[in-house]
């Protein structure tokens, strides 16, 4: 029991990692888009857990808030808007299934090998950082990036409005109007 509690961090890390991986595989494999969205959400949540276990709680908070709370919600909304049981789709997978999988496997092998080789060389373990370090850095050295993100978000808002305005001029028929 003590051993269990002593290594709880590591154990939980392994569990979360495994679950995240399972979720990722499900994203690629599941048929219906809504289920795919759910799998992705679960992956993201487990990833948030991993961040928490690593000690960067603020990033974990951002992960759940922004990714799950904004991005995936928008995604789910869109899936529900568009007709998911689109009869025009001929199956899940494209024509490049086999080359894709083979290529992906090779690529994955190469990357894993690269990662291991990399770790073999760098043995450095320096000090880690805290939220305080992060916010100080963000507002001192990286203040420009900070400001630019505001600009980027503004641009995104304007673009989205433009798309809406433009589309509403052409008449507002969307996929949701079709009922199969």
């Amino acid at each position: 029991m003590n051993a269990f509690l002593a290594n709880l961090d590591t154990l939980l890390l392994y569990v979360f990692a495994f679950c995240a991986l399972v979720g990722a595989v499900l994203v690629v494999v599941l048929r219906q888009p809504m289920r795919v969205a759910m799998a992705l959400i679960s992956t993201m949540v487990f990833l948030g857990g991993i961040y928490g276990l690593l000690g960067v709680h603020f990033i974990a908070a951002f992960q759940v808030l922004i990714y799950v709370g904004a991005v995936m919600v928008f995604m789910v909304y869109t899936i529900m808007l568009l007709d998911v049981r689109d009869p025009a789709i001929k199956g899940r997978f494209s024509r490049l299934l086999v080359p894709g999988v083979i290529g992906g496997a090779i690529f994955l092998a190469a990357l894993v090998h690269a990662v291991n080789a990399l770790l073999g060389r760098s043995a450095a373990t320096a000090a880690s950082f805290t939220l305080q370090d992060f916010s100080v850095a963000f507002l001192n050295e990286y203040w420009l990036h900070f400001e630019l993100t505001s600009v980027l978000l503004l641009a995104a808002v304007v673009a989205a409005l433009a798309v809406i305005k433009g589309s509403s001029r052409h008449g507002g028929e969307t996929g949701a109007d079709r009922r199969g």
Partner: protein, 623 residues
């Protein structure tokens, strides 16, 4: 210290001004600039000439270093000694007179400014030619006068015949220039310098690394082209398509004498090259005789004079070939006087007859254009060798040295030259009779408008006739003796000098008598001769069909090669084929490669995967 540069550059200024803004200046300003600048050059030349007479030292002016690599330099420098002085005086003096003549002759022409610009450009290059110190500067002038000649022969280029004549002149000259260039290369290779005074000194000092005869022959080939000797004489009669002042200035007085000047200048080479000198004399005398025979049968007033020029140039080369360089220059000067007078007189006749050039349609002009008549008579007598006019003195010297010179004179050369002198007198007086005397054979409407030329034209004619009359008393050979020594006369023949003078006079008078007999009398006499020697007459009138022979043996094969080898195989198959092939290759490969662009995002993503994998591998391979 800039006098020589001024002499050369003033005509250039005239060329630029008249050429660029001449059309806007008006004919008066163009005439003043066009004639005034050469006149100033002439004045400066006279001043320098007097100075030269006083000091005796040649004057050298360095103008510009054209190229320098290592220790060798190619300089543009001007050189003024007795020989250059004589040539420059002739070029600027006679040149200015002909410019003044052109004011009247070209009065009604639309391209008045262009004419004077080209004339000034010609003077610039000719002065570079005669004043240049090195063969390089001379060659620039050589080519430049060729260009000016081409532009002026084809001055009325709207008529394709004129343009063709200009082309023929230029191309024939270029053939000769190949030989000239070879000579220059040989000299530079052997001596390391192109400056003519140094070349002469080197050859006179002792044996040189290159055969003097070889160099002499190569340079002479260039002279054959420029001075219209066999076999490159064919351009000169066609060059008569240009305006008459051009024929007078370029194709009688100055440009065609460039070959003579060149050989006289490089006498150091020719004194040591007996083979080359013999060739020069042989070709000179052959050309003289050959051209004289053709001139007998010609019916265009300018063509007669053209062949006469070729013949007289042959005489000059005879003098050069037997070592009498000063005498050749002497004949060059007297020839400039009387030939220019003859050509300008012919121009006056053509002007009076509103463009008629066929001597069969002239006659009876004695009373109607008297000044032209009298000046033409004086010049004709000069060329025929009637004493005491200029032509007699120079031609007699040539005949004497052709006979008696210790370096190449022979009875054969003398004999042919004497026969040619007879023919010269004959055909010149024939021309004179047919143009001016006897009953009028003119077209009636031409006859109505016959008028004497304006003072700008007749004044020049009078001056030139005067020079033809008294020019012989300026003893040029004597003047040039320190520079161009006269050859030693064979002692055994010394006694023949006076009899030979008598013979020359006799030949001239005999020619006059012959022309009087045939052309002064009833027309039947010439018709009888023509009927008896019909074949010979056709041969002479057809100029021995040399142009036709060149066309057949050279022109047609070249044309065939151009068409079949260069055009069809080289240009179309090789070049176009290669380019089309390359384009086809590009098109084909583009067609194949464009199949990547399927528009399918899955494929693009797969390619991204493959690409990043390859990048990973590459970064491994290179550490």
């Amino acid at each position: 210290m800039n006098a020589l540069k001024l002499i050369v550059l003033l005509p250039l200024v005239g060329f630029l001004v008249n050429g660029l803004i001449g059309n806007r200046l008006g004919k008066r300003a163009v005439s003043i600039i066009g004639c005034g600048l050469p006149l100033i050059s002439f004045a400066i030349t006279v001043a320098l000439f007097i100075q030269l007479g006083a000091s005796g030292q040649p004057r050298i002016e360095a103008a510009y270093t054209w190229a320098a690599f290592g220790t060798t330099t190619f300089d543009i420098a001007f050189y003024f000694d007795r020989l250059s002085a004589v040539m420059t005086l002739i070029v600027t003096g006679v040149g200015t007179l002909i410019h003044i003549y052109s004011i009247g002759y070209m009065k009604d022409d639309d391209s008045y400014a262009r004419f004077f610009a080209y004339l000034n450009m010609f003077l610039f290059f000719m002065l570079m030619l005669v004043l240049g110190r090195s063969l390089l500067v001379m060659f620039v002038g050589w080519e430049g006068v060729g260009l000016a000649s081409y532009l002026l022969i084809g001055f009325w280029f709207q008529d394709p015949v004129n343009a063709k004549a200009g082309k023929k002149a230029f191309i024939t000259n270029r053939v000769g220039d190949a030989g000239f260039l070879l000579g220059i290369f040989l000299l530079y290779h052997a001596l390391g310098t192109l400056e003519m005074d140094r070349i002469n000194a080197a050859f006179l000092a002792g044996p040189v690394a290159v055969s003097a005869s070889l160099v002499g022959i190569c340079l002479f080939i260039g002279a054959t082209g420029k001075s219209a000797q066999i076999p490159l004489h064919v351009w000169l009669p066609d060059a008569m398509a240009g305006p008459t002042p051009v024929s007078a200035l370029i194709h009688a007085a100055t440009m065609v004498t460039a070959g003579v000047y060149m050989i006289a200048r490089l006498n150091g080479i020719y004194l040591n090259a007996p083979a080359a000198s013999q060739l020069v004399a042989a070709i000179g005398v052959a050309t003289a005789f050959f051209a004289a025979t053709i001139a007998i049968a010609q019916t265009d007033i300018k063509k007669v004079l053209a062949y006469s020029t070729i013949s007289q140039l042959g005489f000059m080369f005879v003098a050069l070939g037997v070592g009498a360089y000063g005498v050749a220059v002497f004949h060059l000067m007297t020839h400039a006087f009387f030939k220019a007078c003859l050509f300008l007189g012919a121009g006056s006749v053509i002007h009076a007859l509103s463009g008629e050039q066929d001597i069969r349609k002239m006659g009876g002009l004695r009373k109607r254009i008297p000044i032209t008549y009298w000046t033409f008579l004086v010049a004709t007598a000069a060329i025929a060798g009637i004493p005491p006019l200029a032509g007699f003195w120079s031609k007699d010297e040539i005949l004497w040295f052709a006979f008696a010179s210790g370096s190449g004179g022979s009875f054969l050369v003398f004999g042919i030259a004497a026969l040619t002198a007879l023919l010269t007198a004959f055909y010149m007086f024939r021309l004179f009779w047919l143009v001016f005397l006897g009953p009028s054979r003119m077209d009636p409407d031409v006859e109505h408008h016959v008028h004497e030329s304006p003072i700008t034209m007749t004044g020049v004619l009078v001056v030139l006739a005067g020079l033809s009359a008294v020019g012989g008393f300026i003893s040029i050979p004597h003047f040039l003796e320190p520079l161009l020594p006269l050859p030693a006369v064979q002692p055994a023949l010394k006694s023949f000098q006076m009899p030979l003078v008598a013979l020359s006079v006799a030949l001239g008078l005999l020619g006059l008598a012959g022309a009087w007999y045939f052309y002064g009398g009833p027309a039947g006499r010439t018709k009888a001769i023509k009927a008896r020697f019909g074949g010979l007459y056709r041969l002479l009138a057809g100029k021995y069909f040399i142009d036709e022979a060149y066309e057949f043996f050279l022109g047609r094969p070249l044309h065939w090669i151009s068409d079949h080898v260069f055009l069809r195989i080289g240009d179309r198959a090789l070049f176009d084929g290669t380019l089309h092939g390359l384009a086809g290759l590009a098109r084909g490969s583009a067609g194949v490669l464009s199949r990547v662009q399927t528009g399918n995002l899955h494929l693009y993503a797969l390619l991204v995967l493959i690409g990043s994998f390859l990048c990973l591998v590459w970064s491994w391979a290179h550490g």
